[in-house]
């Protein structure tokens, strides 16, 4: 009898200490965001996190609560910051039914010819579309080359656990900004890819394969390591609108490009027009390596996307080609950041933006050349097209050069479609709408030609849709 009682007491003690912990540190947290350490712990337990990850999440939560919102950039009024927990743990009522999905989303699926089966998955209604089969096939194919392509959660246990731990949120630490901290606390799902030295991965890997994985999208973490001399092309997103009732996407992408390795990261993003897309993407490039970003950004209500390239090793190279199309009700604040930390590094940023129907496009960038980075070269070019006077287009580039052996050039242009160009195309029989559409597609062509064909075709279709104003 007595021993039995003793055991019970022990259990009580443990319970109480957990309770104490909560009382001492968490009361204020609960008031602020509804996101408590208890909830974060719960997430960690559910995910079967190793201990280091659980502590990491808790530390990130603390940082999140202490950090202010950014004092620059588009307004984030549509985000319910006070109830962040609802984005993390949506209650079952929040899970959407097909009948709740907005009509304009359904229409876009129709116009883009999205197969019926995929629509439910894209609309966040359920996991009926099974991309698992395709995913498994791709996995097997690249595994033959020694490539590891798996979900991060399982990669944290087993052979690659230490590799993941060494790299996880080292490139984008939770202290980077408030939503990186949030991500650190509640991240869920995502891909882990490791390409061994010298391996050139012949087929592009696509995040699309894993669309319906649990927690997919919102707080997804992508960690890719391309070892010495290897090559990988990773494609993120798709042109079909992704809809989610919980309208925050605070994902994180970390790319480690090894010596003389090459990585191409392509994105077509068309999140539904209620989304706040606050994704943080960063690549670190070692000696002789290269990162190529290709980006087509069409969706979201508000986005803040600034893929950053850290040129760590001598001779490293970064290239960024991107297009942003902001239509009615959208405020897309996108750009690129480059940090030259070593000699003989080079960067080229080439962006285009289109503003239409009251949309607001902001190009925001930074190019920094550190004192020790001799003989670096950087060129930035951005071109903006205004399609009417309801819209806005702002260009805010900044260069910070701390080395005199640098060669830095920058140019930007803004204007409208020329009347003579429209007249010329109309004189060849095209209607005015078609003429505008062709000119805008031509404007976007430097980006679409960098994408694999199916994506380029999808992107052109998206542009046509946006131009005809039939996307809500």
């Amino acid at each position: 009898m007595r021993s039995f009682e003793q055991k019970k007491t022990q259990v009580d003690d443990i319970d109480r200490s957990m309770y104490d912990f909560k009382d001492k540190v968490n009361a204020s947290f609960e008031v602020k965001s509804g996101l408590t350490p208890e909830i974060v712990n719960q997430i960690s337990v559910e995910k079967n996190d190793p201990e280091w990850m659980r502590l990491f999440r808790l530390k990130s939560l603390k940082i999140y609560n202490e950090m202010p919102l950014p004092s620059w950039g588009p307004p984030l009024d549509g985000l319910d910051i006070g109830h962040i927990v609802t984005y993390v743990r949506p209650n079952t009522e929040m899970r959407s039914k097909w009948s709740d999905v907005p009509d304009d989303i359904k229409n876009t699926f129709e116009r883009l010819g999205i197969p019926q089966a995929e629509r439910l998955s894209l609309a966040g209604v359920g996991a009926q579309y099974d991309s698992e089969v395709v995913y498994h096939n791709v996995r097997a194919e690249v595994a033959a080359q020694g490539v590891v392509y798996t979900d991060i959660e399982s990669a944290m246990h087993g052979k690659y656990a230490e590799m993941v731990r060494k790299h996880f949120m080292k490139l984008v630490p939770p202290t980077d900004h408030k939503f990186a901290a949030l991500h650190g606390a509640v991240w869920s799902g995502g891909s882990f890819v490791y390409v061994p030295p010298g391996v050139s991965v012949t087929i592009p890997l696509q995040s699309y394969f894993r669309l319906n994985a649990p927690g997919a999208g919102q707080f997804e973490h992508t960690l890719i390591i391309v070892d010495k001399g290897a090559y990988l092309h990773f494609i993120e997103g798709c042109s079909a609108p992704k809809y989610n009732v919980a309208n925050l996407h605070a994902g994180c992408v970390e790319l480690f490009v090894g010596e003389n390795a090459r990585m191409r990261y392509s994105t077509i993003e068309n999140w539904s027009k209620n989304m706040y897309n606050l994704n943080t993407k960063r690549a670190r490039v070692e000696k002789g390596g290269a990162i190529e970003w290709v980006s087509g950004s069409f969706g979201s209500n508000t986005s803040c996307l600034y893929p950053m390239s850290v040129l760590q090793g001598e001779g490293a190279r970064a290239e960024f080609t991107g297009i942003t199309f902001a239509g009615k009700g959208q405020n897309l604040d996108n750009g690129a950041k480059v940090l030259h930390l070593a000699p003989h590094t080079s960067s080229r940023v080439s962006t285009k933006s289109i503003s239409k129907g009251g949309g607001c496009c902001t190009y925001r960038s930074s190019v920094v050349i550190a004192p020790q980075a001799d003989h670096c070269k950087s060129s930035v070019s951005c071109e903006s097209l205004m399609l009417d006077s309801e819209s806005r287009s702002d260009t805010i580039p900044v260069m910070d050069i701390r080395n005199d052996e640098a060669d830095v050039g920058h140019e930007a242009k803004i204007g409208r479609i020329s009347d003579t160009a429209i007249f010329y195309l109309m004189s060849r029989g095209l209607s005015e709408d078609d003429a505008r559409s062709i000119i805008v597609s031509g404007f976007a062509e430097p980006i679409s030609r960098e994408l694999p064909m199916e994506y380029a075709v999808e992107m052109n279709n998206l542009i046509k849709l946006e131009m005809s104003g039939s996307i809500g």
Binding site: S418, A421, M426, S427, R428, G429, S431, D434, I439, G442
Partner: protein
Amino acid sequence: MSHELLKIENLQVGVEDKVILDGLNLKICEGETHVLMGPNGAGKSTLGYAIMGHPQYTVNEGSIVFDGEDITQEPTDVRARKGIFLSFQSPEEVPGIALGNFLRVSQAAVTGKEPRILAFQKEMRKTMETLGIDPGYAARYLNVGFSGGEKKKSEILQMLMLNPKLAILDETDSGLDVDAVKIVSRGIRQYRSDKNALLIITHNAKILEGLSVDYVHVLVNGKIIRTGDSSLIQEIGERGFQFLETGGAQN
């Protein structure tokens, strides 16, 4: 009396606040080749733009009737689809669209049906060959980085591929070297038939060699002050435009 393609009556055209064409009359029938000459600034290009419906040029008075239909208020693409073609003096550069793709889209727009890929490519290659255009140009962006001569050839290529009822060529010979002029001339001759018509705007007669010209009009100060036959070209070549201005209108 062959079929009347273009009838312009009492046309007054202005741009911004200036009147450029003032009471212009012109009639072009099927199978005819007309030449429009005149000193610089007379309004020759304006006539081309007005027939094609350039948005910056306003028709204040008069009418343009094409193939029996009044097109004075019609938008440019409608006019193109009815069968009018304008070869530009300074063709636009349109980045991002390949010449070959553009030709196909344009042909589809003008004929109303999508050309079959193989047949189209064959036709395009053959036409490019006649004009001495490197087949590689089909992949280049429309007019981007083309030399003056290459741009003009690109315009004639488009004309041959779209096969309009009325082709207006605005200063097509300017910027071309001797060989290019010969080639373009050949292209124009290839186009000409009993069923279509040509209006060549020029102030230099080189392009006209080898072409049988039916009417020559002289445009001065926004009006056609003299119409004659091909011998007028030589007269102007020898005596300039001045003698006509003082000589008064004669139609």
